[in-house]
Amino acid sequence: MHPALQGLITIIVGVGGCVGYFYLSNRFLDYVLFPARGEHAGRNINRANQIRPWLFLFPALFALGLYLAYPVFATLWLSLTDRNAGGAFVGFANYSQMFGEPKFWEAMTNNMLWLIIVPAFSTGFGLLAAQLTDRISWGGIAKSLIFMPMAISFVGAAVIWKLVYDTRPAGQDQIGVLNAVWLSFDGGAWSVLVLKLMPIALLAVFAACMGYVIYQALRPLLGREVRRGQIGVWGYVLRGLLSLAAAWMLWLSLGAIPSLFSASLPYGEPQTWLTIPFWNSIFLMVVLVWIQTGFAMVILSAALRGIPEETIEAAIIDGANPFQIFFKIKVPQIMSTIVVVWTTITIVVLKVFDIVFAMTNGQWETQVLANYMYDKLFRTNDWGVGSASAMIIMLLVTPILAWNVYNARKETR
């Protein structure tokens, strides 16, 4: 059968089946099981109304249970068994085997870098773009152009950026933008300014930001002016984790400054960007930042517009300059939105697969967890270790899951 025809039939059967199910089951409930007439009419109506929600919910609950909830437990079980031994229970053998693999630790380290850098830069650029575009008349157009990469598939983005990173042998015209720009540097004063002093300044700013984050995260835990009762156990844990991550970034960025200063850059030689360890991971992250910035911008721009005008007016009357207004009045008021954007992007990053799969396939030390898992599951057919690494991804998502559920509960109460 032609797939298009099959698709059409599926739509008709699927949609018709769903609507038919809802219609008929409701009819059955109202006219056969608990008819609203006779001596028990009132009781029957009440009973029917107790059952009806479950009729409405059943297909969704069934699909959710089968396609999302059950696999979590099935994967957990698979990660504790050995497929080659007929699915025998092996305890944590898969995990210890995985922890013994250098490729896994490479994926973990890279994933941690992705987890910090991509949300940080996406949110940062998004905030910048939101703040800037809200101020100008053609901001709407600018926004939709920055937002556009959201519609492009990760695979499409991989092709787009592979062209940017493309390399031709020395002596030929470069067709990748990055190499063309790179070859325009010749080691003169301009090159030193752009490739050494500017990155060092940026790193210093980044390090300062990280220091500020640590300060903000730890201040309520140390200061006396804040009552300790306001911070729950989770508050302590989250703030601790945040400052640890920030401290790691601070350490990395400070460590990079002297090495960047002393590095002798290979001017005039075209580089194969995707094979330079560490930097190639950064180049892959750029792709995701490029995609996610639009998302951050759209949401943060809505949040910025929701800020009450009076607070800004009051600040202006008090003599605050634009930067003070932005950092001291606006940012604190949209902090909860920033957290939401950050966590949403974090989840995207944890699942990132297509970009790495299409651009380097984990070669040259660019492995990430999701691609490692795919490798194990479908290339080496090692379901145990593959499931174990899937469980690691699940474990990393769990804090966000708990946090979301906690917030949702608070709201519906």
């Binding site: 797939p3 099959q6 698709g7 599926t10 739509i11 699927g14 809802f22 929600p53 409405f56 919910l57 969704a60 609950l61 699909a63 959710l64 089968l66 396609y67 999302l68 059950y70 696999p71 099935a74 994967t75 800037l132 101020r135 100008i136 901001g139 939709s144 937002f147 556009m148 990469p149 519609a151 695979v155 787009i160 062209l163 470069q174 067709i175 933008v177 063309a180 490029w290 949401i299 809505a302 005008e309 800004i312 202006i316 634009p322 207004i325 939401v340 989840i347 944890l350 697969f353 299409a358 795919y374 599951l377 379901w383 899937a390 991804i393 699940m394 998502v397 509960r409 709201e411 519906t412």
Partner: protein, 379 residues
Amino acid sequence: MNMFSKKSPLTWAVHISVVLLVALWLFPTVGLFVSSFRTADQIANTGWWKALFTQERQAPAIRISGEEAEIDGRFVISGNLFESDEVEISKWGTSSRAPEAYAPGETVDVGDGASLTVTEDGAFSLAAPQSFGDSRLPRVFTTATRPPEFTLENYRFVLFDPGNREGMARAFFNTLTVTIPATIIPIVIAAFAAYALAWMRFPGRALLIAAVVGLLVVPLQLALIPLLRLHNEIGIGKGYLGVWLAHTGFGLPLAIYLLRNYMVGLPRDIIENARVDGATDFQIFVKIILPLSFPALASFAIFQFLWTWNDLLVALVFLIDATGETTVMTKQIVELLGTRGGNWEILATSAFVSIAVPLVVFFAMQKYLVRGLLAGSVK
């Protein structure tokens, strides 16, 4: 209250920064787009950013061809090297070792008593005392400035060439076949569930809402092996049915979440009035809630459409079998990246074919997409 008042230099700084930011964000995509309209030879020789301007470059060798004519006892072949008349030759040659040996207008001896002249506009005339017969005619190397040149040949080759086994036409229809049912079915299922969660009272409702929120972030990576096994056991195997079901399952949490949040905000009076008038829940849902929820339905439909169209992982695992008959565009492009890594004209065109539809949807329905994003994340 505008903190950058009109005449302030800050306004200019803002304008310039936004222009730079937009340019930076647009540049990579434009590169691919422009490349998809260039020939393989153009892409390989110059950066795409030069394609927009008149440029001087060395063209590949052109072998002279044409009808022989006898003029004044000499046998002459003449014609023009180029189809376009805006080309201007600055140097030419007859061997790859010295491709820039001669100036335009020069007459050169090419052996066997034959002489060749190439003028500035590409017109050539090759003359010899005897007939050329079947002998190989000389090649001409040119360095010429030529205006921007674009071609639709790549698109014809990628989409319509029946001889191209790596073409995108079939993958395009396969993707469409995956996408449409996978977008519509979850909407129907989720809409009923969302109504129940928003407007019906029953024990355990709050718990179910929390569960949906929790499932929103469960990585679908966990589902791959258990579900593939399940599909194999119940006889679905790899194929369209499997991928439709999988996309439905994975899309449901977001669908229920978005629709429920929207439906909760609908005015209570309408629903209560309908109840008082004797409408059943089913009637209320179909006649009142569904039409009113159109914006939320549209938001989710766009999300799910973009997600299923752009998806690679679910298709790899649940759809594409060893025969490759059911390959989707994302998979096809990854394949091309492996086999045709250097053939940018094919890669760029194929990628653009797959990007084009989401881009159109994006620009046409951006309003709903933004609305859905806001409803989905800002509380």
